[in-house]
């Protein structure tokens, strides 16, 4: 019974933790512009993140070492450094977007300008990291993030023509005034949002924080294979809401208010309240994850003591990195950059950094030194290689497409 509870809790946390500001904005934006014609990208992305999260979960549970620790071991200090810089910058950019998302959610609810909320959000994120136990912060925000299920409820309530949505989903091509370049650009953004690198850094470091052993392997796998796909369904319902409400009206999504509007239309004030709390939880949880991941990547590359399983003073440099990143996030947002725009860029840059993150995982998951007898089978390697190819293509195409489409205009 207790075991069942733990598994359920893990799955619920994985669902709630799957969606962050990048998924919220990108899915709504894509749904409004392309309907469900790009839904397949979410499916491809979810399979990819399941595949690689399972590999990295296995590496952690058996070797006790988180992913970034191993990236340097396998790639060497130079290539490892390039990976570090790329992943760190992308994670920092994501952190900026998440902090902006928290502040925007408060602005929507209160009417007080988001720049006034922002320092408070930064302080709250730091305080939670400084004081709250790892397992607790993961559970609280994961479970609160589950409130985003209102998007699925709203989609049903909006009473869409399901046949039409399905036929959109099965015909993957641009529509209306869109062309293949914008279609590909947003496809890459959506892919980047689903497979964001920080997810594996956080997932594997979290495994060490919670002292996983071989026995936790089943739990980790269940979380990944059940939690992430359900999180993907959440993403699809955000996209679906936008496809039903905004696409026919010719409305493009560019603000967080627009992202939440379909829920208000379907479920009224109560729905709106629930979705605002859900957005807050999802962005706050992701802000914690990205801030910690900024610390994890640098500390693990350098071999410093890191983690919340020790007192802050025993991992001083780790905590200083997090504080510096939070200050940098604050300074960036103070320039009044649009957090939604930052989010859009962050998912595209995430897509660019993906091969660097996932290649070492594929190598290590085949190394008996780290995973013993649990190396990848032939099928997993075939999938792994296929996805790696996909990641390389997306990564190489991202910048040309960004220039060509003027970032998706």
């Amino acid at each position: 019974m207790k075991k069942l509870l733990a598994v359920t809790l893990g799955i619920l946390t994985a669902i709630g933790g799957f969606v962050d500001i990048g998924d919220l904005v990108t899915n709504a934006l894509v749904g409004a512009r392309f309907g469900m014609h790009m839904a397949w990208v979410v499916v491809v992305g979810v399979i990819g993140i399941c595949l690689y999260a399972e590999m990295s979960g296995r590496v952690v549970a058996i070797s006790g070492r988180p992913v970034f620790d191993l990236i340097r071991e396998r790639l060497g200090p130079q290539t490892g450094l390039v990976t570090l810089v790329a992943s760190f910058l992308v994670t920092l950019l994501t952190l900026i977007a998440e902090i902006g998302g928290i502040a925007l959610a408060f602005e929507l609810a209160s009417g007080v300008h988001y720049l006034l909320w922002m320092p408070l959000a930064v302080f709250a994120v730091w305080l939670v990291i400084w004081r709250v136990k790892f397992s607790r912060l993961e559970q609280v925000f994961g479970l609160l993030g589950l409130l985003l299920i209102v998007f699925a409820v709203a989609l049903f309530k909006l009473g869409p023509d399901w046949g039409n949505l399905l036929s959109q989903a099965t015909s993957p091509h641009p529509i209306g005034s869109e062309n293949w370049a914008t279609y590909a650009y947003y496809g890459i953004a959506l892919f980047g949002a689903a497979m964001t690198p920080y997810e594996v850094f956080f997932f594997t470091s979290g495994g060490v924080e919670e002292k996983w052993t071989r026995r936790d392997l089943v739990t980790a796998r269940t979380n990944v294979f059940v939690g992430f796909p359900l999180g993907g369904l959440l993403s699809l319902s955000i996209m679906g809401c936008a496809a039903v409400l905004f696409l026919p009206a010719g409305i493009q999504v560019g603000t967080l208010g627009q992202v939440t509007l379909p829920v208000a239309v379907a479920l009224g004030k109560l729905g709106l309240a629930v979705v605002l709390i859900g957005v807050f939880a999802a962005t706050f949880g992701a802000a914690l994850e990205t801030a910690l991941s900024c610390g994890y990547t640098i500390a693990q590359y350098r071999g410093w003591q890191w983690g919340k399983f020790v007192r802050p003073r025993e991992a001083s440099r780790f905590h200083v990195v997090i504080i510096i990143c939070l200050v940098l996030a604050m300074l960036t947002l103070v320039t009044a950059v649009d957090p939604v725009k930052v989010t859009e860029y962050s998912v595209v840059f995430a897509a660019m950094a993906l091969p660097l993150t996932y290649l070492p995982i594929l190598i290590i998951a085949n190394d008996p030194d780290y995973v013993g007898a649990n190396t990848n089978g032939r099928l997993r390697n075939a999938f792994g290689l296929f996805y790696l190819g996909l990641l390389v293509v997306a990564s190489l195409a991202a910048i040309p497409l960004m220039i060509l489409t003027k970032a998706g205009q």
Binding site: R65, E73, W130, G303, Q305, S316
Partner: protein
């Protein structure tokens, strides 16, 4: 180098590995370099280098996915201590475990 009958590849099994302090299990840096005795046949690793400190190979107590060493007196976390004194210790709660 050989240890307990195992032949290890210095580049694959030592370089860039995580160092762990045997005393408290704390993470203590990475193996940045190794010092080789080329006169011996085959050449043996005599010391590891981390954060510009040499750690004699005799101090290695365990070799797995990380390298555990007896770090007594080496002061491997001197940089961390410096940051601790300059910043972290000034913040309330630095010495408390999270709740």
């Amino acid at each position: 180098m050989t240890m307990a009958g195992r032949v290890l590849h210095a580049q694959l099994h030592l370089l860039d590995r995580q160092l762990i302090d045997q005393a408290d299990g704390h993470l203590a840096g990475k193996v940045d370099d190794v010092v080789l005795d080329l006169d011996a046949d085959p050449p043996v690793v005599t010391a590891l280098v981390s954060a510009r400190r040499e750690i004699s190979a005799r101090r290695i107590t365990d070799l797995g996915t990380a390298v555990t060493v007896d770090a007594e007196g080496l002061d491997l976390d001197r940089y961390d201590d410096r940051v601790e004194r300059a910043v972290i210790d000034k913040i309330p709660g630095a010495g408390h475990a999270a709740e």
